[in-house]
Subunit: 289 residues, 4 copies
């Protein structure tokens, strides 16, 4: 599904009406744009319907660059009352990772980064513990230890924001970061902070979900990657998965099994996000996999 050729990705949504695809595809064709992949979806929106789309255009098929594309496309977007953006696959996203003391998501993301499966910049990694400094720095990535104390929470998150802004981060990934992001901070970066929660939401929100799951005696456990919003564990879900357990599995076993789905779900969701496959729609997502 992913094109290795340089391409521009147009992702957009607008009120539904006749002729949207014709209008957009017509514009692209007019300029000889070669569509590599395109996806459309119409979603009910309180009785009206809203149209979502994602189009990959081969970069060198167009006679102009992104700036001019944006210029020329604007009137159409305005006419269709579109929310839209277009990105260039050659421009690497800047992803800042936050971790605590659990290793699985961090190792997994760095393995993918190292092999260029995840073709991003990681300008730095931030942690409330110093545990992974050596490991991160060995990869040539700056590491910031920002402790979060009971009465230093505000200062800590101010510092995290400062770093994120300073390194011009696009996206923040909470890779089993065991602190709650302040609601205002979530609100200031909508659709830009990804969290991995270790349960199949909406089951077992909050703390110690594997303990909750063990107590309830469920037969599958799960993980959920969602955008962080000001409502804890309530943000739009990007990806989820589950794994089978049984009565013989202790909480420790569940933690161990859970790690395998947490890291996979996070990596999948991050990839969808970075490729502009995720379009928010209220508290839900359209994911053009």
């Amino acid at each position: 599904m992913y094109s290795q050729r340089r391409h521009y990705t147009l992702s957009a949504s607008c009120p539904d009406r006749v002729g949207i695809v014709a209008r957009v595809a017509g514009f692209i064709a007019e300029h000889d744009g070669w569509i590599l992949e395109s996806r459309y979806h119409s979603e009910d929106d309180n009785g009206h319907s809203r149209y979502f789309m994602r189009i990959d255009i081969k970069a060198d098929s167009l006679p102009f660059h992104l700036a001019e594309f944006r210029e020329r496309f604007r009137p159409i977007a305005e006419e269709l009352r579109m929310s839209w953006k277009i990105n260039d696959s050659a421009v690497k996203r800047r992803v800042v990772i936050l971790v605590s003391r659990q290793e699985h998501c961090l190792y997994d993301l760095l393995a993918r980064w190292q092999s260029k499966e995840l073709d991003i910049e990681i300008p730095c990694i931030i942690s409330n513990h110093d545990t992974f400094r050596g490991f991160v720095e060995w990869h040539g990535i700056p590491f910031h230890h920002v402790p979060v104390t009971a009465d230093g929470k505000d200062a800590a998150f101010a510092e995290i924001r400062r770093i994120f802004e300073e390194v011009k981060g696009d996206t923040m990934v909470l890779a089993r970061y065991m602190q709650i992001i302040p609601p205002e901070m979530c609100a200031d970066y909508p659709g830009r902070i990804l969290n991995i929660h270790h349960s199949f939401l909406p089951s077992f929100v909050g703390a110690r979900p594997y303990h909750q799951a063990h107590r309830r005696g469920v037969k599958l456990i799960g993980a959920t990657c969602h955008y962080a919003t000001s409502q804890l564990d309530e943000g739009p879900i990007i990806e989820q998965d589950v794994i089978r357990i049984d009565h013989s599995d202790s909480v420790d076993d569940m933690v161990r099994y859970g790690k395998d789905i947490e890291k996979t779900v996070l990596a999948r969701a991050l990839r969808y996000h970075l490729e502009d496959r995720v379009l928010a729609h209220g508290n839900k997502t359209v994911v053009f996999r």
Copy 2:
């Protein structure tokens, strides 16, 4: 995992201590009993531990029948402070099915019964609608239409109990039966009423779980088979499963996908139950699959 040879199934639990397996297996060996399959499990029980077991013994390897087995085994069971039972695979269970107007679980169960995959007696099928009378009767199974009206609920459930007792039912299966069983009735048949709920519990308890799931934007939907207890949708879970959906699936699509897991989860759970693979432990289950 299932033996086609006639066998006795001993299922039991007791406080954990040294020598339980030796004591029970020793008793069986003493009488030349051939163990076809055996499973043991120790579960933490508020700081103490409790031992669960399930043993299939080849029927004709023993020099006596069940009545005498029970007689001779009793002192051991008492010594070990056991809850126990032993059943004969040659004695068919008597399963009463309750349905409403949805066909999928009913067709599925009757297909399995018809081919003897489910080797049970179905002394009758009860419904609050007359929809499936012809279909059920064609299979040679008596059909009872017991309407449930707003002010005739008590009478209706009294009638259902009367029928269940009259036909000497062992197990009652709520195969998408769209009425809530009265708490007292659940309490009177503990571990004998199986319900299939169309969500991955504990998510989306109560009515219209697919609508709830659609609203929350989950990426997988599920089904749960549990014993009915006086707490709605809170009984011990026997089996669960999920299926992947995406943003393009409407509630109707989810209903359709959901049917496929509902019927499979119910059939698997019923099989575990009928083969004495499910041992209750408080509000949880040990399932020796």
Copy 3:
């Protein structure tokens, strides 16, 4: 994903070039056609690339009916060198089911047909055994017993073809029909005969796949629905799925587990087929789920 409003489904493929979507969507928009759902895919075809598409258009948004649509669209299709068809969701497909003595796929299909989940005509069911006559006829569907004997194979399949033609069948479903369809017959109905094979192809082609799987000691077993072609078990795969087993499962257990995925895989594949979601591409399929 499935629209309940009456719609026309255009499915097509053509050599890839600039402007295909614009051309097709432009034509539809010109006539005020409302696109409910559309999917596009470009596939490498020995160095060239081939474009596949499937578009649902709201029937009453167009000012003309299918015949005129076909007339007007033809020049565009010719210009694009398209293979194409357009179908009306209000015209029920005519599906002939072939069975032998296994019940699971038959019960499953009839349950879906009965509840209109599968909104088709079943003009008749054909079997080489008389086993299911009563069950089928109870549903009001004609049943044909066409025995297949060692030296009467040709006559039997001639009779099957005669019936299929007589009832104007669109699609033939081999619902665990245990006879091999003659290669010429497969060749005469390309993309119209669906078979469910009880293994995860290409593993375990031919007879007794569960025995083969048991001997090899695999940890998952599967089922595959594919178009029947003149090469046995080699046709284009539409859908597959697997289920976990373990060392304790006998061949009989595998058969039992396998039934659950066979019927589900067949039902899913049939649905994709009937909704024109499956586009053949050589010996592979594009499936716009």
Copy 4:
């Protein structure tokens, strides 16, 4: 399922007969041994049946250590004609990992080792490339670069064996090691070399399985962990899993998806192996998960 308390694991198989469990559990009970977990299985063996078992005994419940256990248990084992071993959970296994240039299994195993989820010694890592030297050495693990050239294969594998013996390796893990282990070497270490193959065996044996899978148009791809034997890709399967793909996935996408199941399947299988949960039975395995 895994006990964190120090325990001895007895794993064994023997010809089936009456009284095996009683004999073994009786011996353990006699010495006040506390059974934490036990599993039994009877498998048909060309008309005879063979009994497999795995028992975890709490170490400090026994009045003696392993050497004396072995001494005292030997007569029983001989009487039952048992193949058996008993291991101490406090003695860490020595696992040598072989890699080439793919990172995913290596990062995954080291993450698990680093967090003690995988509580083993890794005395060294061997590779035919120098790619991961820095990464491995950063973890404090010796790294050996043993190039394999067309005419230096024999020397290379002699060197690998020398290293494996020198570091007293128990188990060798081929973590996407892209060289074929010589048949004699496989034969000399039966049940001690784990390989991860990037297909759902027996489909797509040999080279470039994802290319084979893409050509065949399968809808799921898989990974298989098996013991390496002298027959390439034919050894006893320990664990398998699959992941769904569709027509839009290129070979590169399949490689990427495949990595996620390869590393998970390898990690699960290695865990089963290290906990003596895998008992070989001809070319199959009994896996007491």
